[in-house]
Each structure stands twice: as structure tokens, then as C-alpha cells.
């Protein structure tokens, strides 16, 4: 038998050992990169516990690499670390997607709330613009102030969305919606007949009051 063939089994074994003796740095780096991408995308605040865990996995990985590095190359075994690194990488990718999805969900809810508020406020302002019969001047002015406040609060919702503060945008938009409905109800609630002013006198009063 050729001597070269006799060398083949030990060579193969060496290659196998060598393969297992390599740390899975690429997988670890890839997982780290994906985590950072998720954080850069502001996805981490939406699943903070999951991100804490994946970071824990990463540090466990790194801790697993160190004792193997201290051994002779022939006795190093990165098999488990490698397996863990593969899992961590796929987990990091899942988190990136899940975090982004959650962020998008929250954003969509905030935008929906904003849209509802944006539709309701002009309708309320239109009601405010019609001077309701029977209201005294102070109530009327108070209702107008409410309408103006609603309008300027809508800008605050827009600002919160621009800064990606979706929970604030959502609660603000909902608050505006509620307030808007309350203002509309106040305008639309008919006064008892006995408390209504004579529209004719009101018109006359208006002429006189215009000078002030």
C-alpha cells in the first residue's frame, strides 16, 4: 500500500479537528450586526426584554469562546458555541423583524388616531363657526377657545409622530378626539325652550355689540 494513502486518515482527522477548532466569530459578528441594525431602526424599545435576552446570549457566546481559546488547537471544541451563534443570529434577525413590525403597528395605530382626530377637529370647528342660538357670549367665546386649542393640539400630534414618539402621539390624538366630541356635544345640545333667546332680539343685539 502506498505510504501516501496511509497518511490520508490522520490528515482527514486533523482537518476535522481544525474545522472544529475555529471560533464562530463570523456568526457572532453577524448576530451583533443584526442586533445593532435593529437598535438603529428604533425597534429595540418595542421588545426591550427580547433584546436584553439576545444580548445575554451574545455575552454567553463570547464567554463560551474564551475557555476554548485557552486550549491547544487540537483539543478546542467550538461546536456548541457555533451552534449557539447560529441560533443567536437567526434570533437576532427574528427580533429585528418583530421589533420593526411592532414599531410599525404602533406607528399605524398612532397615524390612525391622528387621522380620526384630523377628521373630527375640522368638523367641530365648523360647528363652532356657526354661532349657536341661545348661547351667551362667554360660552361662545369659551367654545371658540376650545376649538382653537384642538387645532393647535393637532400640531403637537404631528410633532410627536415626526419624532417617532408614537405612544404620545396616539394618546394625544385620542384625547383630542374625546375633547372634540365633547365640544361638539356641547354645541349640539339644544337649550330648553324657556332658556332660548329671542333670535330677533339677538340679531338686533349683535348689531349694537359690533361696535365694542
Amino acid at each position: 500500500m502506498d505510504k501516501r494513502f496511509m497518511m490520508l486518515p490522520p490528515m482527514c482527522s486533523l482537518l476535522m479537528f481544525e474545522a472544529c477548532a475555529k471560533p464562530s466569530t463570523e456568526q457572532i459578528e453577524a448576530a451583533e450586526k443584526t442586533i445593532k441594525a435593529g437598535q438603529a431602526n428604533d425597534a429595540s424599545p418595542y421588545i426591550p426584554d427580547e433584546y436584553a435576552k439576545i444580548k445575554g446570549t451574545l455575552s454567553a457566546l463570547k464567554e463560551g469562546v474564551t475557555p476554548q481559546d485557552g486550549k491547544l488547537a487540537l483539543f478546542r471544541d467550538y461546536g456548541e458555541v457555533w451552534q449557539l451563534a447560529v441560533t443567536a443570529k437567526s434570533e437576532a434577525e427574528r427580533l429585528k423583524t418583530e421589533g420593526t413590525e411592532k414599531k410599525e403597528e404602533t406607528k399605524a395605530s398612532a397615524l390612525q388616531a391622528q387621522q380620526v382626530a384630523q377628521e373630527v377637529v375640522p368638523a367641530t370647528l365648523a360647528l363652532v363657526a356657526k354661532a349657536p342660538i341661545g348661547r351667551d357670549r362667554a360660552t361662545l367665546e369659551s367654545i371658540k377657545a376650545d376649538g382653537e386649542a384642538l387645532q393647535s393640539s393637532l400640531n403637537q400630534v404631528r410633532m410627536a409622530i415626526d419624532t417617532a414618539d408614537y405612544p404620545t402621539a396616539q394618546t394625544k390624538a385620542k384625547a383630542i378626539h374625546e375633547k372634540s366630541q365633547a365640544v361638539s356635544r356641547e354645541i349640539e345640545t339644544p337649550l330648553p325652550r324657556s332658556e332660548r333667546e329671542n333670535p330677533l332680539r339677538r340679531r338686533r343685539n349683535k348689531v349694537d355689540l359690533l361696535y365694542v
Binding site: D49, S59, E80, D136, A149
Partner: protein
């Protein structure tokens, strides 16, 4: 002998089998399932407590240990060991379980205290807001505050929404901002209505009123003094008080009139420029004042120049003392309003040229000064 041999072999085999079964049943799994479940439950509790947001350092530490142990669990999953063998993994899991339980207990307490703080803050700010609204309404100063009350209302709605979601930190933040707005409201009122608590100003108003009364005495005729803080009109004749009626002012009446449409009632020395009988006015009877006078025009120009009022705003006019039929009109656009029977009496006792002095307040303990002092006290308490 030959019959004994197989029996011995069978006995050996029997004892051997028994020993094997005994040994195998004595072996235990290297990964204790109950400890893993316990740590998993703690992790779930921590997630429900929003530990990653409430106490990120604690949760990161827990997660780091848990993930490291999980990796070991995966590696040792198929291992079995002798019961007398030390089990590091189990020890580590039990330790993490203990630490985790302590963290859960501490965070539960912290969260409860957070919840209480948020609840207390909401209640405190809402109480103060309600009280302030009442006080502001009592002195008719709602319009001085502009959109501030609405902002506070929206912030409180947000605080409630965050509280319901269990986001106590955000709820506290919204309540804090509402409280800041309340403090700003009090500051705005102090700045806008501070003159009602200003001794010098009150002294000047007192002198103006005194001057008018003296004029009435010297000229042996009628004069009117209107006190905005008390909402009272007093008619003097020959320097003597003849009658005193409650009045209603502009919807922003406690402010000093600056421009057309501001709803404020002017302050100053005026005269009745004309009288309007039933056929000449919309308001039963009216006494038209010579507003704006020279002083008003000078002040208006100054305010425009200093940008205190928009350039597009004109100076107001047609300020009257008039009657009203409907009790549903609690305020005017800036005029002074009396009930018709009282207006009739007043109308008959004054003439064109009668001096009318409108002042903010005539004594230091007026309703506005007292309200401002109360608001300041509350601000200090919060």
C-alpha cells in the same frame, strides 16, 4: 454439582439485573426541569412587570445569566448523572431563581409604588385643576388663560390613558406637564391681573373714584363710579351715595380694554356722551360713554408700538351702560350692563356730561386679589 451451577449463574444474573435496575433508577437528569420552569416563570413575571423598561440593569443582568444557563441546558440536555454527583447547573439555576424571585418581589413593590405615585399625581393635579377652574370662573378670568386650560385637560386625558395602559412613568410625565401648565396659568393670572393686588394701582383707582365723588359734591350733581372687581355701579349725588347696583361686564371684562373685540371693559374717567331712550337703543336704555378718550388713544398707540397688540386690531368704541331683558346674557362684549328696572332708575338720574369713572378695585381685599393669593398658595403647596 452440575445442577448447582446453572442455579448459581441464574442467581448472579438476577442480582446483576437488580443492581443494574437499581443503579439506573438512581441516576438523575443533569438538567432539572422544575428549576428551568421556575426560572421561565420568573422571566415571564419580569416581562409582565416591564422589567426591561422599569429596571433595565436588573433585567439585563438576569437575561444574561439566564441565556448563559440556557445554553448550558441545551448542551447538557441528554446527560444523566449519579445522584451524589455535584450539579453546578442546578446550583446556578436555583441561584438565578432566588435572585430572580427577589427582583420580581422588588419590582412588584416598585411598580406598585409607581402606580400609586401616578394615581396620586393624577388626583392631585385634577383637584388643583378643578379648584383653579372654579376660582378662575368666579373672577371671570377664563379668557385671560387662552388655550392653557384646554392643554391641561388634554394632558390629563393622556395621563389617564397611560395609567390605564400601565405606563406609569409616562402617566407621571403627562401629569407633571399638566402641573407645570397649571403653575404657568397661575403665573399668567398673576401677571395679567396682578394690578388688582397692587397697592399703588389700587391707591390710584381710589384717588380716581375720590376725585369723581368730590367733583359731584363741588358741582352739586350726579357722578357714577363702577368697580370692576366687585361688579358694582354706584351713583353719587352731591358727593353722597344714592344707589348701588350689581352690574355685568364684558366677557373678558376684568382686563383692561386694549382693542376692538377683546371683550374687556375699559378703565378710566369718562363722561356720558349721549343718552339713548327706548327707540334709540337695542338695549332698553343706554348711556353712551366717550370711550375712547385721549388717554385711551395714547395707551392704544403705545401698545401697538410695543407690539402688545396686533397692528391689525382697531381701537374699540361704543362703550355703553345699558340694560338687558334676558337673564341669559351674563356678559357683554365690553359694555356695563344692568337689569332693566335698575337701568330705568339710573337713566332718569343722570344726564349728558355726567362723569363715569370705571376702576379695577377700590380696596386691597378685593375678590381678584384674594383669588390670586389663594392660587399662589396652592402653587407653593404643589
Amino acid at each position: 454439582m452440575s445442577s448447582h451451577c446453572p442455579r448459581l449463574i441464574w442467581a448472579f444474573l438476577g442480582w446483576g439485573a437488580l443492581a443494574l435496575v437499581g443503579s439506573l433508577s438512581g441516576c438523575v437528569e443533569a438538567v432539572p426541569q422544575d428549576a428551568i420552569e421556575a426560572v421561565e416563570n420568573i422571566d415571564r413575571d419580569l416581562m409582565e412587570l416591564r422589567a426591561a423598561e422599569l429596571s433595565p440593569t436588573d433585567y439585563t443582568q438576569f437575561a444574561r445569566q439566564w441565556m448563559a444557563l440556557k445554553a448550558r441546558v441545551q448542551a447538557d440536555e441528554d446527560l444523566i448523572r449519579w445522584p451524589w454527583e455535584p450539579n453546578d447547573l442546578e446550583v446556578a439555576l436555583r441561584r438565578l431563581q432566588e435572585e430572580g424571585s427577589r427582583t420580581v418581589a422588588r419590582l412588584t413593590k416598585e411598580r406598585e409604588s409607581h402606580r400609586r405615585s401616578a394615581e396620586d399625581k393624577i388626583a392631585r393635579v385634577e383637584d388643583r385643576f378643578r379648584m383653579m377652574t372654579l376660582q378662575v370662573s368666579a373672577i371671570d378670568s377664563r379668557f385671560v388663560l387662552g388655550q392653557k386650560p384646554d392643554e391641561i385637560e388634554l394632558l390629563m386625558k393622556q395621563a389617564h390613558a397611560f395609567y390605564e395602559e400601565g405606563r406609569y412613568d409616562r402617566s407621571l410625565d403627562a401629569s407633571d406637564r399638566a402641573a407645570q401648565n397649571l403653575a404657568t396659568e397661575a403665573a399668567v393670572l398673576s401677571s395679567e391681573l396682578g394690578r388688582y393686588a397692587d397697592r399703588d394701582r389700587i391707591s390710584r383707582w381710589q384717588q380716581m373714584a375720590k376725585g369723581t365723588i368730590t367733583w359731584s359734591r363741588i358741582h352739586r350733581t350726579s357722578a357714577i363710579v363702577i368697580n370692576k372687581a366687585d361688579r358694582v355701579l354706584t351713583l353719587y349725588r352731591n358727593g353722597q351715595k344714592v344707589l348701588s347696583y350689581p352690574v355685568r361686564l364684558g366677557f373678558n371684562g376684568i382686563r383692561e380694554k386694549q382693542y376692538h373685540g377683546d371683550g374687556a371693559t375699559p378703565e378710566g374717567r369718562y363722561r356720558i356722551s349721549s343718552k339713548g331712550g327706548q327707540e334709540q337703543t337695542q338695549f332698553y336704555r343706554a348711556l353712551v360713554l366717550d370711550y375712547p378718550n385721549e388717554d385711551d388713544r395714547r395707551r392704544y398707540q403705545l401698545w401697538r408700538k410695543t407690539g402688545q397688540i396686533p397692528a391689525s386690531r382697531a381701537i374699540g368704541e361704543q362703550i355703553e351702560i345699558h340694560g338687558v331683558e334676558s337673564e341669559l346674557m351674563p356678559q357683554t362684549l365690553g359694555c356695563v350692563m344692568l337689569d332693566n328696572p335698575q337701568m330705568a332708575l339710573l337713566y332718569d338720574r343722570v344726564s349728558k356730561g355726567t362723569p363715569v369713572t370705571i376702576v379695577g378695585a377700590l380696596h386691597e381685599q378685593n375678590s381678584l386679589a384674594l383669588t390670586l393669593a389663594a392660587l399662589n398658595d396652592q402653587r407653593e403647596e404643589t
